[in-house]
């Protein structure tokens, strides 16, 4: 049941034009669960899909594609140095959907969910 719910939540977030295979969702979930997302990266090699950063698996290194969402937040993110093409390492997340810890170049940053969801990334 939980799996199905997660499936739907993913489905809504992902850009429809890219399309997504149900297996991706299951694998992402497992990857999150096992905290071994590098497996996922290998599997997904060659498939290009876009999702928001808060939906990306923990531990993955993603490429920022575009900034989209609330204007104030996006402007702030740009000020912090988030630019399309930048590589972001999603390191960890605090408990209970807390802030995400990530690395942008050599800077470590903490972002809340609503801020991370303005970052559209490509795995």
């Amino acid at each position: 049941m939980k799996l199905i719910l997660i499936y739907f939540s993913f489905f809504k977030k992902i850009e429809p034009r890219f399309g997504v295979h149900p297996w991706f969702v299951i694998l992402t979930y497992l990857g999150d669960l096992l905290k071994r997302p590098f497996k996922l990266n290998i599997i997904l090699e060659g498939i290009s899909l876009m999702l928001t950063l808060d939906m990306a698996p923990i531990g993955s290194i993603v490429e920022l594609v575009q900034l989209d969402g609330d204007l104030d937040i996006v402007n702030r993110l740009i000020d912090m140095g988030f630019r399309p093409g930048a590589q972001i390492e999603y390191i960890k997340r605090m408990i209970n959907q807390g802030p995400l810890v990530l690395r942008l170049n050599s800077t470590l940053l903490a972002l809340r969910n609503e801020e991370a969801s303005c970052l559209k990334v490509k795995i």
């Binding site: 290194i61 900034l67 609330d70 204007l71 104030d72 937040i73 996006v74 402007n75 702030r76 993110l77 740009i78 000020d79 912090m80 140095g81 630019r83 399309p84 093409g85 930048a86 590589q87 390191i91 960890k92 997340r93 605090m94 408990i95 209970n96 959907q97 807390g98 802030p99 810890v101 690395r103 942008l104 170049n105 050599s106 800077t107 470590l108 940053l109 903490a110 972002l111 809340r112 609503e114 801020e115």
Partner: protein
């Protein structure tokens, strides 16, 4: 307003992103002799000072709060913006030293671009240059200088290298422009860009940073490192040779992700530490451990100093009384002036230690991690991780704590934090608790009173949680609650800078909170002395004084709490400063011994015997617990109210806060007493 803008060429502003080493540089430039001033009309502080004499040049330097860009978003950044473009007192600034972190150039050059294009004359100071050269890189100063057509200087914050050069180059640039007659004012309008343009500039700056930070070639590396010890140079060589040539490329993608990043060793170390300190579960455990260590040390280390200060002032007061005899003048000096000074100074050690420890944690880089850890739990109460530092400071004194809320960019979060901070057990409540607990647990082992104190501290936290949850429910939600926090790399703090900062902040506290505490202490003295100041005993004098008359008049109010007018007067006098409660009580119950130790004992015994008009004991278990709860909740602090008015900009909320907390405190105290009996 715009027409009276003038150009100020005497002041050089120091601008830079947070954590770029701006404050350290400012300390070097000014020899740590600066004053913090408030921006007129706003409450954010910035520092201003003349250049230290050893640099041989004379101009004024202004430190500004850290900002990522010239698009202001929090109050801190707003002030930097205003101070630069249209400072009310200083006029518009022309010369700027922009401080950027050499290891973060790709992000920080953005600010340089913005400053340049809004028309400032820049000098770029690149910090952390020592780190870069240690990792086998160097910064192409010529290229950077050419791009922005301004002088670029590498500085070393830890050892102070490059400061002289920075000062000289800034001065040279200023003198060159002296003859320029056209008063070209810097103009923020240029920065009105679309998002695409902003991103484009960001991309350009990123490219530039990769062109500017260049890996040393093996031959030049030897020359560069010839002065440094052989150890580090061999390390760098190792780094170079162990990497395949193709890996060392200047394309942005590889640089960002590869281990050739100039700060890689530091980053690796930081992440190793973070595995524990920022662990989602264990991190919270370490957090609690560190916080309890912090509080223990505040009380532990401050205790001897507080005793010394307290002893000094009570000695001094009794000396004054001795010398002056029983005149009104000596009473005024001893009980009025000296005692109220003592009330201000006795908490200075605790506040200094708290400021020092907070500054220490901040400069190691832990504080922002603590904020990250606690963000989610606090968001349940409508606050954010950024509320953590104000709440923590609230345990020393609410006044600096409320000032610390400026760092919170969300208005709603900031407001809730400001409302909750006065409920944290500030150090002024401690003497009152100490007295009442000593009464409640007399002839009992000390650990019981200790547990009682812990319960009271927790009680303050619980009350804060309830109030914030209540406000969180009733206030309408705000769209943008920013958190977005940079987690700086762990680094060793420079102790002298941290100590100096703590000292400056403590002095600031004395200057700000001192006068109101002092004034109200004097008022209480007047109210408890006049009109019948020639009465034979202190008790008669007090009973017939204005305060006594007022106390008897409002006695019906305090009756339900189980106390009589004498305690009522003490509670009212505690509005000057909470700790006054104990001394007022001593005066009212006619405890005359001057010695500190026996004064407490004397007060305790007269408290045990005290009966009200109908012959009932005033201090029963129920009424003492009621009193403690009253002190816990009530906002008996005029300086807190004053600062809330200043920070919210409105009187209404401060008044609501005072009425609500005192009413709540009263209701709770009455409830406890009535139910208990």
């Amino acid at each position: 307003m715009k027409s009276i803008k003038k150009l100020n060429t005497e002041v050089v502003a120091l601008v830079g992103p947070p954590n770029a080493g701006k404050t350290t540089l400012f300390n070097w430039l000014t020899n740590r002799k600066y004053k913090t001033v408030n921006y007129p009309g706003a409450t954010v502080e910035y520092s201003i000072a003349s250049l230290a004499p050893q640099w041989g040049v004379n101009f004024t330097v202004m430190d500004t709060p850290g900002t990522y860009s010239l698009h202001p978003k929090s109050e801190d950044e707003e002030v930097t913006f205003k101070a630069l473009f249209h400072h009310i007192e200083l006029g518009a600034i022309r010369d700027v030293i922009v401080v950027v972190d050499g290891t973060q150039l790709s992000r920080h050059l953005n600010l340089v671009w913005q400053l340049k294009h809004s028309g400032f004359y820049l000098t770029i100071a690149v910090t952390m240059s020592d780190l870069i050269s240690k990792s086998g890189y160097h910064i192409d100063i010529a290229k950077l200088s050419e791009t922005f057509s301004c002088p670029v200087v590498l500085v070393d914050g830890l050892l102070g290298g490059g400061i002289k050069e920075l000062v000289e180059k800034t001065q040279f640039a200023r003198e060159q422009k002296k003859n320029e007659t056209s008063e070209r004012l810097p103009n923020p309008q240029v920065l009105k860009q679309t998002q695409e343009e902003q991103i484009q500039i960001l991309q350009q700056m990123n490219e530039l940073s990769h062109q500017v930070v260049i890996q040393n070639e093996a031959s030049t590396l030897k020359n560069l490192n010839s002065n440094s010890n052989s150890n580090s140079s061999s390390n760098s060589n190792l780094n170079l040779t162990s990497k395949p040539e193709s890996f060392i490329s200047n394309t942005s993608l590889e640089r960002e992700n590869s281990k050739t990043s100039p700060v890689f060793p530091l980053l690796e170390r930081t992440q190793k530490w973070d595995r524990w300190l920022l662990h989602p579960v264990l991190g919270l455990f370490f957090f609690i451990l560190i916080m309890s260590g912090l509080f223990t040390s505040i009380f532990f280390f401050a205790a001897p100093f507080m005793d010394a200060i307290d002893g000094f002032f009570s000695d001094f007061a009794s000396k004054v009384a001795e010398v002056g005899g029983a005149t009104l003048w000596s009473d005024f000096l001893g009980n009025g002036i000296v005692t109220s000074f003592g009330a201000v100074f006795v908490f200075v050690p605790q506040i200094f230690i708290l400021f020092f420890l907070i500054g220490f944690m901040e400069s190691t880089g832990y504080l922002s991690r603590a904020a990250t850890l606690i963000d989610r739990p606090l968001s349940f109460f409508g606050m954010s991780g950024r509320s953590f530092v104000p709440l923590l400071s609230g345990f020393a004194c609410a006044v600096p704590a409320i000032m610390a809320t400026r760092n919170i960019s969300s208005k709603r979060t900031r407001f809730i934090t400001m409302m909750v901070v006065p409920l944290m057990t500030c150090s002024a409540r401690l003497p009152v608790y100490a007295l009442l607990l000593a009464f409640l647990f007399r002839d009992k082992p000390a650990w019981q009173a200790g547990i009682g104190l812990t319960v009271l501290y927790m009680g303050g936290l619980i009350a804060g949680a309830i109030v914030s949850q209540f406000l969180h429910r009733i206030l309408k939600t705000e769209k943008n609650a920013f958190f977005m926090m940079e987690l700086p790399l762990y680094r060793q703090p420079k102790l002298s800078v941290v100590l100096n900062q703590a000292w400056t902040k403590t002095m600031g506290y004395i200057k700000r909170a001192g006068p109101p505490i002092f004034t109200f202490a004097l008022l209480v003295w007047v109210a408890t002395t006049f009109p019948n100041y020639q009465a034979e005993t202190d008790q008669v004098k007090l009973e017939s004084s204005y305060a006594g008359q007022l106390g008897q008049y409002i006695e019906p109010v305090f009756k339900p709490m189980g106390v009589d007018w004498r305690v009522g007067v003490s509670l009212i006098s505690a509005f000057a400063a909470r700790e006054v409660f104990a001394s007022s009580l001593a005066v009212i119950f006619n405890v005359t011994t001057e010695d500190e130790e026996s004064m407490q004992a004397g007060l305790l015994s007269s408290m045990t015997e005290a009966k009200d008009a109908s012959g009932r004991f005033i201090f029963s278990t129920a009424s003492v617990i009621g009193l403690m709860l009253f002190v816990m909740i009530a906002l008996q602090c005029t300086s807190t109210t004053a600062i809330v008015i200043r920070e919210t900009g409105k009187i209404s909320w401060a008044i609501i806060q005072v009425i609500a907390y005192n009413l709540l405190a009263y209701v709770v105290a009455v409830g406890v007493y009535q139910v208990w009996n």
